[in-house]
Protein backbone atom coordinates (compact mmCIF):
# COMPACT_ATOMS: atom_id res chain seq x y z
CA UNK A 1 0.00 0.00 0.00
CA UNK A 2 1.32 3.42 -0.94
CA UNK A 3 1.42 5.91 1.88
CA UNK A 4 -0.21 9.28 1.25
CA UNK A 5 2.01 12.31 1.76
CA UNK A 6 0.45 15.07 3.81
CA UNK A 7 1.69 18.43 5.05
CA UNK A 8 2.09 19.27 8.73
CA UNK A 9 -1.01 21.47 8.56
CA UNK A 10 -3.01 18.63 7.01
CA UNK A 11 -1.76 16.38 9.77
CA UNK A 12 -3.13 18.87 12.29
CA UNK A 13 -6.44 18.83 10.39
CA UNK A 14 -6.63 15.03 10.83
CA UNK A 15 -5.71 15.16 14.51
CA UNK A 16 -8.41 17.79 15.12
CA UNK A 17 -11.18 15.97 13.26
CA UNK A 18 -10.43 12.26 13.66
CA UNK A 19 -12.99 12.08 16.47
CA UNK A 20 -15.51 13.93 14.32
CA UNK A 21 -16.55 17.32 13.07
CA UNK A 22 -18.04 19.47 15.87
CA UNK A 23 -21.82 19.77 15.63
CA UNK A 24 -21.94 23.56 15.55
CA UNK A 25 -23.49 25.86 12.92
CA UNK A 26 -20.10 26.83 11.49
CA UNK A 27 -17.76 23.84 11.97
CA UNK A 28 -15.14 25.13 9.51
CA UNK A 29 -14.87 28.38 11.47
CA UNK A 30 -14.01 26.31 14.54
CA UNK A 31 -11.45 24.37 12.52
CA UNK A 32 -9.97 27.51 10.90
CA UNK A 33 -9.50 29.01 14.34
CA UNK A 34 -7.68 25.90 15.60
CA UNK A 35 -5.47 25.72 12.50
CA UNK A 36 -4.84 29.49 12.63
CA UNK A 37 -5.78 29.95 8.97
CA UNK A 38 -8.77 31.59 7.27
CA UNK A 39 -12.14 29.93 6.78
CA UNK A 40 -11.65 30.15 2.99
CA UNK A 41 -8.32 28.35 3.33
CA UNK A 42 -9.91 25.70 5.56
CA UNK A 43 -12.69 25.05 3.04
CA UNK A 44 -10.17 24.95 0.19
CA UNK A 45 -8.00 22.52 2.17
CA UNK A 46 -11.06 20.32 2.85
CA UNK A 47 -11.93 20.20 -0.86
CA UNK A 48 -8.34 19.44 -1.77
CA UNK A 49 -8.14 16.61 0.79
CA UNK A 50 -11.34 15.17 -0.71
CA UNK A 51 -9.99 15.49 -4.27
CA UNK A 52 -6.79 13.69 -3.31
CA UNK A 53 -8.70 10.93 -1.55
CA UNK A 54 -7.13 11.64 1.85
CA UNK A 55 -10.69 12.25 3.05
CA UNK A 56 -13.04 9.69 1.53
CA UNK A 57 -16.08 11.69 2.46
CA UNK A 58 -17.44 13.84 5.28
CA UNK A 59 -20.45 11.94 6.42
CA UNK A 60 -22.53 10.25 9.07
CA UNK A 61 -21.30 6.76 9.88
CA UNK A 62 -24.22 4.70 11.18
CA UNK A 63 -23.87 1.80 13.55
CA UNK A 64 -24.82 -1.09 11.20
CA UNK A 65 -26.25 -3.11 13.99
CA UNK A 66 -28.56 -0.39 15.33
CA UNK A 67 -29.94 0.28 11.85
CA UNK A 68 -30.97 -3.35 11.69
CA UNK A 69 -28.10 -4.47 9.46
CA UNK A 70 -27.12 -7.30 11.75
CA UNK A 71 -25.59 -9.56 9.15
CA UNK A 72 -22.41 -9.23 7.16
CA UNK A 73 -20.27 -11.55 5.18
CA UNK A 74 -16.96 -11.26 3.39
CA UNK A 75 -17.67 -12.76 -0.01
CA UNK A 76 -14.58 -14.07 -1.76
CA UNK A 77 -14.20 -14.85 -5.45
CA UNK A 78 -11.79 -16.57 -7.79
CA UNK A 79 -11.88 -14.43 -10.93
CA UNK A 80 -9.55 -14.36 -13.90
CA UNK A 81 -6.63 -12.01 -13.34
CA UNK A 82 -6.81 -10.32 -16.73
CA UNK A 83 -10.24 -8.91 -16.00
CA UNK A 84 -9.97 -8.55 -12.23
CA UNK A 85 -9.55 -4.78 -12.33
CA UNK A 86 -12.59 -4.25 -14.54
CA UNK A 87 -14.86 -6.52 -12.51
CA UNK A 88 -13.53 -5.39 -9.15
CA UNK A 89 -14.71 -1.90 -10.02
CA UNK A 90 -18.18 -3.19 -10.91
CA UNK A 91 -18.53 -5.05 -7.61
CA UNK A 92 -17.16 -2.06 -5.67
CA UNK A 93 -19.92 0.12 -7.10
CA UNK A 94 -22.72 -2.01 -5.63
CA UNK A 95 -24.28 0.06 -2.80
CA UNK A 96 -24.36 -2.83 -0.31
CA UNK A 97 -20.62 -3.53 -0.68
CA UNK A 98 -18.58 -1.71 1.95
CA UNK A 99 -15.09 -2.92 1.09
CA UNK A 100 -13.81 -4.39 -2.14
CA UNK A 101 -10.22 -5.47 -2.72
CA UNK A 102 -7.98 -7.56 -4.91
CA UNK A 103 -5.59 -9.66 -2.82
CA UNK A 104 -3.01 -12.34 -3.62
CA UNK A 105 -3.95 -16.04 -3.73
CA UNK A 106 -2.11 -18.57 -1.59
CA UNK A 107 -2.57 -21.86 -3.41
CA UNK A 108 -3.62 -24.43 -2.39
CA UNK A 109 -4.90 -22.96 0.92
CA UNK A 110 -6.51 -19.90 -0.60
CA UNK A 111 -7.62 -19.49 -4.20
CA UNK A 112 -9.72 -16.31 -4.04
CA UNK A 113 -8.39 -12.99 -5.32
CA UNK A 114 -11.44 -10.70 -4.97
CA UNK A 115 -12.92 -9.77 -1.59
CA UNK A 116 -16.23 -7.92 -1.18
CA UNK A 117 -17.86 -7.26 2.20
CA UNK A 118 -21.67 -7.20 2.07
CA UNK A 119 -24.18 -6.06 4.69
CA UNK A 120 -27.81 -7.01 5.17
CA UNK A 121 -30.72 -7.13 7.58
CA UNK A 122 -31.24 -10.86 7.32
CA UNK A 123 -29.17 -13.88 6.42
CA UNK A 124 -31.39 -14.29 3.38
CA UNK A 125 -30.50 -10.75 2.26
CA UNK A 126 -26.80 -11.62 2.45
CA UNK A 127 -27.39 -14.69 0.30
CA UNK A 128 -29.34 -12.65 -2.25
CA UNK A 129 -26.55 -10.10 -2.43
CA UNK A 130 -23.96 -12.83 -2.79
CA UNK A 131 -26.08 -14.17 -5.66
CA UNK A 132 -26.21 -10.73 -7.30
CA UNK A 133 -22.42 -10.53 -7.21
CA UNK A 134 -22.20 -14.05 -8.62
CA UNK A 135 -24.35 -13.08 -11.59
CA UNK A 136 -22.30 -9.95 -12.15
CA UNK A 137 -19.11 -12.04 -12.17
CA UNK A 138 -20.49 -15.01 -14.16
CA UNK A 139 -18.22 -14.38 -17.18
CA UNK A 140 -15.00 -14.18 -15.21
CA UNK A 141 -15.49 -16.70 -12.39
CA UNK A 142 -12.98 -19.54 -12.44
CA UNK A 143 -11.90 -22.30 -10.15
CA UNK A 144 -8.36 -23.12 -9.22
CA UNK A 145 -9.64 -25.92 -7.03
CA UNK A 146 -13.26 -26.88 -7.33
CA UNK A 147 -14.94 -23.84 -5.83
CA UNK A 148 -15.29 -20.41 -7.44
CA UNK A 149 -16.55 -18.47 -4.47
CA UNK A 150 -17.12 -18.57 -0.75
CA UNK A 151 -18.36 -16.39 2.08
CA UNK A 152 -16.52 -15.76 5.31
CA UNK A 153 -18.82 -14.96 8.17
CA UNK A 154 -17.26 -13.89 11.43
CA UNK A 155 -18.10 -16.21 14.28
CA UNK A 156 -16.35 -14.14 16.93
CA UNK A 157 -14.62 -10.77 17.28
CA UNK A 158 -11.26 -11.56 18.87
CA UNK A 159 -9.90 -8.02 18.96
CA UNK A 160 -11.11 -4.64 17.78
CA UNK A 161 -9.18 -1.43 18.27
CA UNK A 162 -9.23 1.69 16.12
CA UNK A 163 -6.31 3.20 14.30
CA UNK A 164 -5.42 6.65 15.49
CA UNK A 165 -2.98 9.36 14.53
CA UNK A 166 -0.92 10.47 17.49
CA UNK A 167 -0.93 14.15 18.34
CA UNK A 168 2.52 15.55 17.62
CA UNK A 169 5.25 14.43 15.29
CA UNK A 170 6.31 10.85 14.87
Amino acid sequence: MTAITITELERQYIVLTQDGLPLVPKPYHWLADKLAISVEETLAMTKDLLDRGVIRRIAAVPNHYKLGYKFNGMTTWDICDERAQEFGEKVGQLPFVSHCYLRPRHLPQWNYNLFAMVHGRTEQEIKEKQHQIKELLSDVLQTHQGQANDILTSTRILKKTGLRLRNGKK
Binding site: M1, I14, L21, I55, A59, S98, Y101, R103, T155, K159
Partner: protein
Protein backbone atom coordinates in the same frame (compact mmCIF):
# COMPACT_ATOMS: atom_id res chain seq x y z
CA UNK B 1 -36.51 7.09 14.70
CA UNK B 2 -38.98 9.39 12.94
CA UNK B 3 -39.15 10.51 9.35
CA UNK B 4 -36.71 13.39 9.82
CA UNK B 5 -34.12 11.07 11.43
CA UNK B 6 -34.46 8.68 8.50
CA UNK B 7 -34.12 11.48 5.96
CA UNK B 8 -31.00 12.75 7.72
CA UNK B 9 -29.49 9.27 7.95
CA UNK B 10 -30.07 8.56 4.28
CA UNK B 11 -28.80 11.95 3.16
CA UNK B 12 -25.80 12.30 5.47
CA UNK B 13 -24.40 8.81 4.85
CA UNK B 14 -23.69 10.13 1.36
CA UNK B 15 -21.97 13.25 2.58
CA UNK B 16 -22.19 16.68 4.13
CA UNK B 17 -21.89 19.69 1.78
CA UNK B 18 -18.59 21.58 2.07
CA UNK B 19 -19.58 25.14 2.92
CA UNK B 20 -19.59 27.58 5.83
CA UNK B 21 -22.95 26.46 7.22
CA UNK B 22 -23.41 22.87 6.08
CA UNK B 23 -26.15 22.03 8.59
CA UNK B 24 -28.26 24.98 7.40
CA UNK B 25 -27.96 23.69 3.84
CA UNK B 26 -28.94 20.17 4.93
CA UNK B 27 -31.89 21.63 6.89
CA UNK B 28 -33.15 23.31 3.73
CA UNK B 29 -32.99 20.00 1.85
CA UNK B 30 -35.06 18.15 4.45
CA UNK B 31 -37.44 21.00 5.25
CA UNK B 32 -36.18 21.65 8.76
CA UNK B 33 -33.95 24.24 10.43
CA UNK B 34 -30.26 24.30 11.35
CA UNK B 35 -30.75 23.97 15.13
CA UNK B 36 -33.06 20.97 14.75
CA UNK B 37 -30.68 19.19 12.38
CA UNK B 38 -27.78 19.69 14.80
CA UNK B 39 -29.90 18.54 17.77
CA UNK B 40 -31.01 15.40 15.89
CA UNK B 41 -27.42 14.53 14.98
CA UNK B 42 -26.35 15.02 18.60
CA UNK B 43 -29.14 12.67 19.71
CA UNK B 44 -28.22 10.04 17.13
CA UNK B 45 -24.59 10.12 18.25
CA UNK B 46 -25.65 9.99 21.90
CA UNK B 47 -27.86 6.92 21.46
CA UNK B 48 -25.30 5.18 19.28
CA UNK B 49 -27.34 5.14 16.07
CA UNK B 50 -24.38 6.99 14.57
CA UNK B 51 -20.94 5.75 15.47
CA UNK B 52 -19.32 8.95 14.25
CA UNK B 53 -19.88 12.07 12.24
CA UNK B 54 -17.17 13.80 10.25
CA UNK B 55 -14.35 13.19 7.79
CA UNK B 56 -13.47 9.58 6.98
CA UNK B 57 -9.79 9.39 6.23
CA UNK B 58 -7.94 6.98 3.98
CA UNK B 59 -5.97 4.76 6.34
CA UNK B 60 -2.89 5.40 4.16
CA UNK B 61 -2.66 8.97 5.49
CA UNK B 62 -1.82 7.54 8.90
CA UNK B 63 1.60 7.13 7.34
CA UNK B 64 2.01 3.45 8.09
CA UNK B 65 1.31 0.25 6.27
CA UNK B 66 -1.54 -2.25 6.54
CA UNK B 67 -2.27 -5.77 5.55
CA UNK B 68 -4.85 -8.50 6.02
CA UNK B 69 -3.49 -11.83 7.18
CA UNK B 70 -5.03 -15.23 7.84
CA UNK B 71 -4.05 -18.39 9.69
CA UNK B 72 -5.23 -21.99 9.76
CA UNK B 73 -5.36 -22.98 13.43
CA UNK B 74 -6.59 -26.32 14.79
CA UNK B 75 -9.23 -25.91 17.51
CA UNK B 76 -6.98 -27.21 20.30
CA UNK B 77 -4.43 -24.44 19.70
CA UNK B 78 -6.85 -21.66 18.81
CA UNK B 79 -6.90 -19.86 22.17
CA UNK B 80 -3.11 -20.07 22.53
CA UNK B 81 -2.58 -18.55 19.09
CA UNK B 82 -5.32 -15.94 19.70
CA UNK B 83 -3.54 -14.78 22.82
CA UNK B 84 -0.19 -14.47 21.06
CA UNK B 85 -1.64 -12.68 18.00
CA UNK B 86 -3.66 -10.21 20.08
CA UNK B 87 -0.66 -9.43 22.27
CA UNK B 88 0.90 -7.52 19.35
CA UNK B 89 -0.11 -3.87 19.48
CA UNK B 90 0.12 -3.83 15.67
CA UNK B 91 -2.96 -6.08 15.42
CA UNK B 92 -5.95 -3.76 14.97
CA UNK B 93 -8.78 -6.23 14.32
CA UNK B 94 -8.92 -9.96 14.67
CA UNK B 95 -11.86 -12.19 13.75
CA UNK B 96 -12.61 -15.85 14.02
CA UNK B 97 -14.19 -16.92 10.73
CA UNK B 98 -15.83 -20.12 9.57
CA UNK B 99 -13.32 -21.39 7.02
CA UNK B 100 -10.27 -23.62 6.78
CA UNK B 101 -8.37 -20.34 7.33
CA UNK B 102 -10.16 -19.55 10.59
CA UNK B 103 -8.32 -16.55 12.03
CA UNK B 104 -8.23 -13.25 10.11
CA UNK B 105 -6.56 -10.10 11.33
CA UNK B 106 -5.41 -6.67 10.21
CA UNK B 107 -1.81 -5.69 10.89
CA UNK B 108 -1.12 -1.94 11.00
CA UNK B 109 2.46 -0.75 11.35
CA UNK B 110 4.50 2.43 11.13
CA UNK B 111 6.70 1.05 8.34
CA UNK B 112 6.32 -1.55 5.59
CA UNK B 113 9.21 -3.63 6.97
CA UNK B 114 7.50 -3.93 10.36
CA UNK B 115 4.66 -5.95 8.73
CA UNK B 116 7.14 -8.69 7.84
CA UNK B 117 8.73 -8.54 11.29
CA UNK B 118 5.34 -8.99 12.99
CA UNK B 119 4.45 -11.89 10.70
CA UNK B 120 7.80 -13.58 11.33
CA UNK B 121 7.39 -13.18 15.09
CA UNK B 122 3.85 -14.58 15.06
CA UNK B 123 4.99 -17.57 12.99
CA UNK B 124 7.92 -18.19 15.31
CA UNK B 125 5.90 -17.86 18.53
CA UNK B 126 2.89 -19.91 17.38
CA UNK B 127 4.50 -22.41 15.03
CA UNK B 128 1.80 -21.76 12.41
CA UNK B 129 2.07 -20.10 9.02
CA UNK B 130 0.65 -16.61 8.46
CA UNK B 131 -0.85 -16.01 5.00
CA UNK B 132 -0.20 -12.41 4.11
CA UNK B 133 -2.85 -10.85 1.84
CA UNK B 134 -1.97 -7.19 1.32
CA UNK B 135 -4.43 -5.38 -0.88
CA UNK B 136 -3.22 -5.11 -4.45
CA UNK B 137 -6.05 -2.87 -5.50
CA UNK B 138 -8.89 -1.17 -3.65
CA UNK B 139 -12.14 -0.29 -5.36
CA UNK B 140 -14.54 2.47 -4.42
CA UNK B 141 -15.47 2.06 -0.80
CA UNK B 142 -18.84 3.54 -0.05
CA UNK B 143 -21.39 1.72 2.01
CA UNK B 144 -24.93 3.04 1.92
CA UNK B 145 -27.47 1.53 4.31
CA UNK B 146 -30.92 2.96 3.54
CA UNK B 147 -33.41 3.17 6.42
Amino acid sequence: MDNLDKQLLNLLQKGLPICEQPFAQVAEQVGSDEATVIARLEDMLECGLLSRFGPMFDAACWGGDFTLAAMEIPQHDFEMVNEIVNSFEQIAHNYERAHRLNMWFVIGTETAQEIFDVIAQIEQKTGYKVYNMPKEKEFFVGLYLPV
